[in-house]
Amino acid sequence: MTTAAPPTTAGAPPGRTSRHSRRRARTALTFLAPFGILFAAMYLAPIGYTVYQSLFQEHRSGLGLSAPTKVFAGLANYRAALDDSGFRGSLLRVLLIGVVQVPVMLALSLTLALLLDARRTLFKRFFRLAFFLPYALPGVIGALMWSFLVAPGLSPITAAAHHVGLHLDLTSNSLLAPTIGNMLTWGWTGYNMLIIYSALQAIPPELSEAATMDGCSAFGIAWRIKIPLVRPALVLTTVFSIIGTAQLYNEPAILHNVAPNLSSDYTPIFAAYDAVDAGNFDYAATESVILALLAFVLSFGFLRLVQRRGAAL
């Protein structure tokens, strides 16, 4: 990796130690090389390439018979993307799904983790497995399952609702977002729960025992002792969830197969892939950069927010 700069001997005392540390540094670089080279090729290069592409546009001259030429376009692609109401709509849609779905999912994860951690809960092993199972299924297979579960004509949920006299179409325009939110919640609650639960398990049991002696209720212990102590886990799961929502693609893409009314620019990634299909790579790159920046700003903004709050407490 280029970031691991070769050590210079400047400032180091001459002799055995510097030779030693130089040799160690060389070993470190050798060990880092396989990962570093692949990381540069598979992570850094694509990121750089995307940013580079987003600054260019293809121009076809005359009748379009000659090969198109790449022309530096500055921020023209960005202006176009931000003017594109379809793309703006996809960003807003994902933001909205995230604002509702992430808190619901994390509240559920935290509640289940606390209940699993409580001393008096029965059948913990079974419940822990049951809650975590969706994570063991590939996201697309989970999405496929749910697409069958909500598909008009096939859905046992719709059938059950019909039985009690309710007309329910889970793939109708107004219910698409809740349906997708539900798919996400189903797939990721267990994963987040396990992260929080693992943090809860690391709390020394003496703490809650002492609180119990002082007459603190189980609810009070959860609220005043456990939740503040698992704050890092909550922050981590929130950041992961924000990034996960930003890259929403599988669920809507598979739902699209049973719900043709789902637009082809439903989420930003969807829109970018649509641009790839149309052969407009520059535009796809631009949409990718905007989305990555937004995800970055949101997750880091959240981190800053909780850090400031943490300092005030």
Binding site: R24, L38, P138, V140, M145, I196, V230, I269
Partner: protein, 303 residues
């Protein structure tokens, strides 16, 4: 900091009630909690249950009767045969491809992650913290965004539509490096490395014989996480592989599902049964290697 040192309380459900506490009001809350847990378990399990039940039905049986209970002709074995007969038995190939991508990618990835994590934990060099921070930031990069540029970069060098097109990107796991560094830092004692050096062992040998052995629980965790993330990956292979003989099982099944409405589309019961079969390897892996899941998530949450 690491899994091994975290005090884990026994949680096998055996609760020892202190004798000096009143029991009656607690019995109610206990039932309440159990109710909530059962409700949640039903929510998480019923789609899987539906999949199980649906795999025993014929195509027409799927559209009639109660979706959550068996009924009509028990067609499970016929469905399984149909899955493996569909499209000239390509499903076998998809399963093998998935196994190849997941095992190959995760094995190579675990090794290079272990090397990098160990180097970042045990060798002081300039720019070490910076390198580690770059790796950490990479954990936060939305993966699907890399797939498009990778496709464009792989096109001119003819890696698109080859096994390498999926394998190469799958090998890189910043999360694996992160876990390896945390674990190596906490569990590989410096004294042990020093002893090896005094005995005249080279650095590579020390890594291979001492460090890898001490790090082996973490290696299983890294392998497991990477295996699952490759097996479940969809976006990268669907973009890279147009040839369906190279596709992993996730891409193949979704391809079958999306044929709906086309002339001789793959019947629903075949798609449903194929989906069920494709998750069996992961569920088995997940049930048998549970403790490694937990240890990975613990080091992920305790920074």
């Amino acid at each position: 900091m690491t899994a091994t040192e975290t005090p884990v309380r026994p949680d096998n459900g055996t609760t020892t009630t202190p004798p000096d506490r009143p029991r009656t009001p607690l019995a109610l809350s206990r039932w309440l909690v159990l109710g909530v847990m059962v409700l949640a378990a039903v929510y998480f399990l019923f789609p899987v249950w539906w999949l199980l039940v649906a795999s025993t039905k014929t195509s027409s049986g799927l559209f009639s009767g109660n979706g959550f209970w068996f009924g009509g002709h028990f067609a499970f074995f016929g469905n399984v045969r149909a899955v493996f007969a569909q499209q000239g038995g390509i499903f076998w190939r998809w399963l093998l491809n998935s196994a190849l991508y997941a095992v190959g990618g995760a094995a190579a990835g675990t090794l290079i992650s272990a090397l990098a994590g160990y180097a970042l934990a045990k060798y002081p060099f300039r720019g070490r913290e910076f390198a580690f921070n770059v790796v950490l930031a990479a954990v936060l990069v939305p993966q699907p965004l890399l797939a498009i540029p990778l496709y464009l970069m792989f096109s001119p060098v003819h890696l698109v539509n080859t096994y390498w097109g999926v394998l190469l990107p799958s090998v890189v796991s910043p999360f694996g490096v992160y876990l390896a560094r945390i674990y190596a830092g906490a569990s590989v004692p410096d004294e042990l490395l020093e002893a090896g050096r005094i005995d005249g062992a080279g650095e590579t040998r020390i890594f291979a014989t001492i460090a890898l052995r001490v790090m082996s629980p973490a290696l299983v965790t890294i392998f497991l996480f990477q295996f699952v993330s490759i097996w479940t990956n969809y976006l990268l292979p669907v973009l890279m592989l147009a040839d369906d003989r190279l596709q992993p099982v996730t891409v193949g099944i979704v391809g079958w599902q999306s044929q709906r409405g086309i002339g001789n589309a793959v019947p629903f019961n075949v798609v449903v049964t194929a989906a069920l079969i494709s998750v069996i390897p992961l569920v088995v892996l997940f049930l048998t290697l549970q403790r490694f899941w937990r240890s990975g998530l613990i080091s992920g949450s305790v920074k």
